[in-house]
């Protein structure tokens, strides 16, 4: 069997395939031939493949129905390798490339029957083919506990396609674009609009979801300027391509129309080339377009008619049949019956005749069809049955005949005798639905139009214009003029002067009005007739919708959810309007009264890869590095993420440290680093601390208002610890701020909060106190900071600096300028370890030089680098808090026992003062920060986060009175210790508390001062 349905070369001059070479692809394990230019759907039809899958609920055979993105049945799993699996690819939009591998996602009848047997076993008499609408809701509601059992069966039976199991081999990216006019759709309306907009001088982007631009011109019978439509198309595209500032994007779907004329386009760059993207190319690209004006020339979707067994392979949309014949040279059968409500669809019968095949009949719902194409069909001898419709399709795995009867649309009934007409292909056209999706994304409600029997875009807040079929203008001659007008309007609105393009001469194709037929009546009642499908992907039938309404679901949104109409990957593009029409009829109201469901982005499914773009792997989120980062890496440091920063966590095995078992553990490394600081000298890369330069005559005043403590008396050359609160009185940040000059301060913030604190300062300055003269500038990255700490730090630094480091000349909390290792530096005597400390700041470009010089001289002092873990232990031994670890936005400075840092009598009401004074925050049984000393042995380290109780014997639920916030083993103290918040903790020193553990055991601890080491602070003042 080889391309049995392909016409002979030359038969269709309009075809867009390249017959000079042959491709081969594999579908469901069968290798088939195709031509370049084919879609998978056209190739499958060419090869006579009727059944492309089975429906997921009823396991009915299904074939290709459409030729575009609205296709409900021909949905494939694609990919030759696990790395290139793509689920739910529409065969109608996927070009064939050599070696393409795909399979049906319907998983075949046997799979579904197995699943249904499983369901039947589970739930008794239901299951199989008799699941009515709402089946799942009704069956699996009770008992609730059984859901877990049901779920795995339902999940296995549900869904289409398989998610890939390994990472995607390809990459995706984003591109930001701007234009004056974005034209969505490159059919006649879009191309005329693009020409008009560009000639006026606008920057234009034209996108079209198909492989080739042209829309209906690609298969039109009409002859602009008395030439085939394809020729005008070719000339026009060439003209646009030659222009500057026109970007033509084929294979690009406009999927979302967002606020401010921001439109997301999804370009499939390499999907037509192969299983994997060529090297150096991203597979798909998301264009993030910000357009001044948007022209929606999105055209229409044809509606099929809803009649019995209308899901049989061989029933196609009339327009799709024409498309396959004229674009691909494929006739999917021998003998056609066309059933239609309108004159335009007659072209399909004419195309079928032109292809040399037989037209059995045209069945027209209208009593007196008329128009140019109707006349042509008559004159070519086609039998036209007027005032009738196909009420049922006959056949097993493929259409074999059409049951035709006269119908009374008004009264929804069949009139007269039925007649069976033998045929192998049934084309139906129930009219056309303008593609209003993108317009609806903007919040615009579609409006019903009786003339075209369809919804058109309603009023919108966005800067958009509609053109052509998208707003119900159908004759080609009018579409071209309308497109040119819309493009010109858009350009004018964007500030250009109108220049109208010359349009081709074209005779008007006359048509008589169409019939308002959606659901075709049957001789049997809907519930008894063979299934009449509305949504083929989700197996929603006309009977299902009628049942839903009888059960009380009157809102179309409820009907949709109850029946699952429009829930498939096709989002009901061809079925929903029919469903609404059925609902309207049953409810005895009009379609506009029934209304549409909401159209949401995305218009078609988008690969996750395209959404992520390059923001994955190493580029997912920035890693921020200090100037010494490379050194840390080379020294084998392990890193901790602090915000986006990578900070050295600890340095296992530094200088050959081996630990007890040959490889230093975290605890061993931290013990070593802690002891080095307490007994010798250690160094920390503290560059990540936020640093904010504050200048201005009111700098001191401002700082006093945002910190809880007093700043009036801080002299130049000295620093002070400050606590920052939110308006609620809760601690939000802390750090040391140094007075560099009368109008010049340097504030430090916690690493993770730097940006938020700067925002916070700007917020207060810009909104509350704009009269204060002060400027804030981040200098975090400018200064590299090295903390030299430990009893030997002075001795080491003396070798490298010209600053007098003596206790009298350089007191605790002072800062000095001088050189360190020959580099100008600011040195601060600030300590976060409780030891004698010098914080050396140099311009970051010089940091590595100074750092290495310190290590060169530090050899003799066994200078030891330490990381954040050691920093945490050392500060906790001193009871120094870490905002965000020991606080959680519910802790006031008083809860932390830091009343020494509160300037109750400051002249201006600083941020948080009033919040802190609230009655509830003054309770003395609030959770307060204390130290905990474990009582169960010196090796015990209480788990961080462990809940604390006073009474270990209490029945569950126990009264929880606090939790452990920081907990470590201290090599200096020789035992574990913790910081914790405990209800009323400040007055409970000496009491015992208990920490019940998940394993049923209970730990105990004594409440002690949070200052475990050197409580008088003697070591930092030396």
């Amino acid at each position: 069997m080889s391309q049995v349905n392909r016409l002979d070369a030359g038969r269709m001059s309009s075809e867009h395939i390249d017959r000079s070479s042959t491709l081969s692809f594999t579908h469901d394990g069968r290798t088939l031939p195709a031509y370049p230019g084919d879609t998978v759907a056209s190739a499958l039809l060419a090869n006579g493949v009727d059944v492309i899958g089975h429906s997921f609920k009823y396991a009915r055979p299904r074939g290709v129905m459409a030729a575009g993105c609205e296709e409900p049945n021909a949905i494939l799993q694609m990919g030759a390798t696990p790395e290139t699996q793509t689920p739910n690819v529409r065969a109608t939009q996927q070009p064939v490339f050599d070696g393409l591998v795909c399979e049906s996602v319907g998983r075949g009848r046997s799979f579904i029957e197995r699943q249904q047997k499983a369901l039947t076993g589970l739930i008794g008499k239901w299951g199989g083919r008799f699941m009515p609408v709402g089946f799942y809701y009704k069956t699996f509601m009770a008992p609730q506990s059984a859901w877990l059992t049901y779920e795995k069966f339902i999940r296995a039976a549900a869904g289409l396609g398989r998610a890939p199991t390994v990472p995607d081999a390809d990459t995706y990216d984003h591109m930001n674009r701007y234009c004056d006019v974005l034209v969505v759709g490159a059919g006649p309306a879009g191309l005329a609009a693009a020409l008009a907009a560009r000639r006026a001088g606008a920057r234009v982007i034209v996108c079209d979801e198909q492989e080739q631009m042209g829309g209906c011109l690609l298969d039109s019978r009409e002859r602009p300027d008395d030439r085939p439509a394809g020729e005008w198309l070719k000339t026009t595209l060439a003209e646009l391509e030659a222009m500057d500032d026109v970007l033509l994007l084929p294979r690009t779907t406009a999927n979302g129309y967002h606020d401010h004329n921001f439109v997301t386009l999804h370009e499939r760059r390499t999907d037509h080339l192969g299983d994997r993207a060529p090297a150096g190319m991203t597979r798909q690209r998301m264009h993030r377009v910000r357009a001044q004006r948007v022209v929606l020339a999105t055209g229409v979707h044809e509606r099929p008619l809803v009649f019995a067994n209308n899901d049989l392979p061989g029933h196609l949309l009339a327009g799709a049949v024409s498309c396959y014949i004229r674009r691909y040279g494929v006739v999917p059968g021998q003998r056609l019956v066309l059933v239609t409500t309108n004159s335009h669809a007659y072209r399909t019968a004419l195309d079928w005749l032109d292809a040399g095949r037989e037209v059995a009949a045209i069945v027209d719902a209208r009593a007196e069809p008329a128009g140019t194409l109707v006349d042509e069909a008559r004159s070519r001898g086609i039998r036209i049955i007027a005032g009738a419709a196909v009420i049922e399709c006959r056949g097993d795995d493929r259409v074999s005949g059409a049951l035709v009867a006269g119908i009374d649309i008004e009264n929804f009934r069949v009139t007269g005798e039925t007649e069976t007409i033998a045929c192998d292909t049934l084309a139906s056209s129930g009219g056309y639905s303008p593609v209003v999706h993108l317009s609806a994304h903007t919040g615009s409600k579609p409006v019903w139009n009786d003339r075209i029997q369809g919804f058109v875009p309603g009023e919108t807040k966005q800067q958009l214009h509609c053109a052509g079929g998208a707003h119900g203008i159908y004759p080609l001659v009018d579409v071209l003029a309308d497109g040119a007008m819309a493009g010109g309007d858009a350009a004018v609105a964007a500030g250009f002067e109108r220049v109208s393009p010359t349009l081709p001469g074209l005779a008007r194709v006359e048509e008589s009005p169409q019939a308002a037929l959606y659901h075709v009546p049957h001789t049997l009642a809907t519930m008894r007739a063979p299934k009449q499908f509305v949504d083929l992907q989700n197996d929603v039938t006309a009977a299902g919708i009628e049942l839903a309404i009888r059960e009380g679901f009157e809102s179309i949104e409820h009907v949709k959810r109850y029946t699952a109409m429009g829930f498939g990957t096709d989002q009901g593009k061809i079925g929903n309007i029919n469903g609404m029409a059925i609902a309207a009829r049953v409810l005895g109201q009009t379609i506009p009264e029934t209304g549409t469901t909401v159209f949401r982005p995305n218009y078609t499914p988008v690969s996750f890869g395209a959404v992520a773009g390059r923001y994955c792997g190493a580029l997912f989120d920035p890693e921020r590095y200090t100037a010494m980062h490379r050194w840390h890496v080379e020294q084998g440091a392990l890193f901790e993420n602090v915000g986006q920063w990578k900070r050295p966590w600890y340095y296992p095995g530094w200088k050959g440290a081996r630990g007890a078992n040959g490889e230093e553990t975290l605890q061993e490394a931290v013990n070593r680093e802690c002891l080095a600081v307490r007994n010798g000298v250690g160094i920390l890369d503290a560059s990540t601390l936020g640093k904010i330069d504050i200048q201005g005559p009111d700098a001191r005043e401002f700082i006093g208002r945002v910190y809880t403590n007093g700043w009036e008396k801080l002299p130049v050359g000295k620093g002070r610890y400050g606590l920052m609160c939110g308006e609620d009185g809760m601690v939000m940040d802390d750090g040391v701020t140094t007075c560099l000059g009368e109008h010049h301060f340097l504030m430090t913030t916690t690493t993770g909060n730097a940006a938020q604190v700067l925002d916070w300062l700007e917020l207060w300055h810009q909104t509350e106190w704009p009269e204060l003269e002060v400027f804030f500038t981040s200098v975090t990255d400018h200064w590299a900071t090295m903390t030299l700490t430990g009893p030997k730090s002075r001795e080491l630094l003396e070798q490298l600096t010209d600053i007098d480091l003596s206790r009298d000349a350089f007191a605790f909390m002072a800062y000095r300028e001088g050189t360190v290792a020959g580099i100008p530096a600011r040195v601060y005597r600030i300590s976060f370890t409780g030891e004698l400390s010098f914080e050396i700041n140099v311009q970051a470009n010089y940091a590595m030089h100074v750092w290495e010089a310190l290590f060169a001289h530090g050899e003799a002092f066994e200078l030891t680098p330490y990381g954040t873990e050691t920093m945490h232990v050392l500060r906790a031994e001193k009871g120094f808090i870490i905002v965000g670890q020991d606080t959680d936005a519910t802790m006031t400075p008083e809860d932390l026992g830091m009343t020494w840092a509160i300037g109750y009598r400051k002249p201006f009401d600083w941020v948080g003062k009033r919040g802190m004074a609230r009655v509830d925050l003054q309770r003395d049984d609030r959770k307060q920060l204390v130290g905990l000393k474990p009582l169960d042995g010196s090796e015990v380290v209480l788990p961080e986060g462990a809940q604390i109780v006073f009474d270990p014997e209490q029945q569950i639920p126990m009264t929880m009175v606090g939790h452990v916030t920081s907990s470590y083993y201290s090599a200096t103290l020789g035992h574990g210790f913790a910081l914790a918040v405990v209800r009323g903790g400040h007055r409970r020193k000496g009491e015992h508390v208990y920490l019940p553990q998940p394993d049923g055991s209970t730990l105990s601890a004594e409440i002690v001062s949070s200052m475990f080491y050197d409580p008088k602070g003697e070591r930092q003042h030396v």
Binding site: Y615, T777, Q843
Partner: protein
């Protein structure tokens, strides 16, 4: 001057002339991109669609002040010999310096490396009232971007219109750049410069190389 602490970050080199431009000590300096890795393979300059480079060790000063105060505007111009750009997203350039508008009361001055202290002193002498001058030279660097596909690289990175109609030579925009920020300046027909922060430099360098890969990337000499 006791209101402000002005700091010269550069060491005085033995035997160097008084000229402060000489005090930049490149030998002991490491630029933010010193250790940046190259995850993609590079091509030759002739074949490259995108050329990337770094203008390291320049002097970067943030200037804050009131653009509506004629004294401030005049003072800046006297100190720098450059017109203060008060139109949003513009810049002014002399042979050695460029000043960029960054916000209604903020400018970024970029001068040859080592000159930042002298320039700050000059500004502080010329200006009075409420102003701020902040040396941020160690905290950022300048990346150069050119080549026929430089614009595409920018389009992949930033949500700003870089079309010649919207982004003429001399324009300067501070905006999101990938998941970080950058100031984008068009300094020539096909020459662009990015001012990026030191701590994000490795990330952005990787990003730029990746974005340019499909066009071929070479390093600018």
């Amino acid at each position: 001057m006791s209101e402000f602490a002005v700091f010269d970050p550069h060491p005085v080199r033995a035997g160097s002339a008084e000229d402060s431009a000489d005090s930049l000590d490149a030998a002991r300096s490491r630029s933010p991109l010193h250790d940046a890795a190259s995850p993609v393979s590079l091509t030759t300059q002739e074949r490259a669609g995108v050329l990337l480079g770094e203008r390291a060790f320049l002097g970067h000063l943030v200037i804050r002040g009131n653009a509506e105060d004629p004294g401030f505007v005049r003072g800046v111009e006297e100190a720098l010999g450059l017109e203060l750009p008060v139109t949003p997203m513009t810049s002014a350039v002399s042979e050695t310096a460029r000043i960029h508008w960054r916000s209604p009361d903020e400018w970024l001055l970029i001068v040859p490396g080592g000159e930042e202290y002298r320039q700050e002193m000059a500004l502080r002498y010329a200006l009075s009232g409420h102003v701020a001058v902040v040396d941020v030279s160690g905290g950022q660097t300048v990346v150069t971007l050119s080549g026929q596909h430089a614009r595409e690289v920018l389009m992949k990175s930033a949500p700003v219109d870089v079309h010649p109609r919207a982004f003429p030579v001399g324009r300067s925009v501070t905006t999101c750049f990938a998941r970080a920020q950058a100031m984008i300046s068009r300094v020539g027909e096909e020459q662009w410069e990015l001012v990026i922060r030191r701590s994000y430099a490795d990330y952005l360098w990787q990003w730029l190389l990746d974005a340019g890969q499909e066009y071929g990337v070479a390093l600018q000499s």
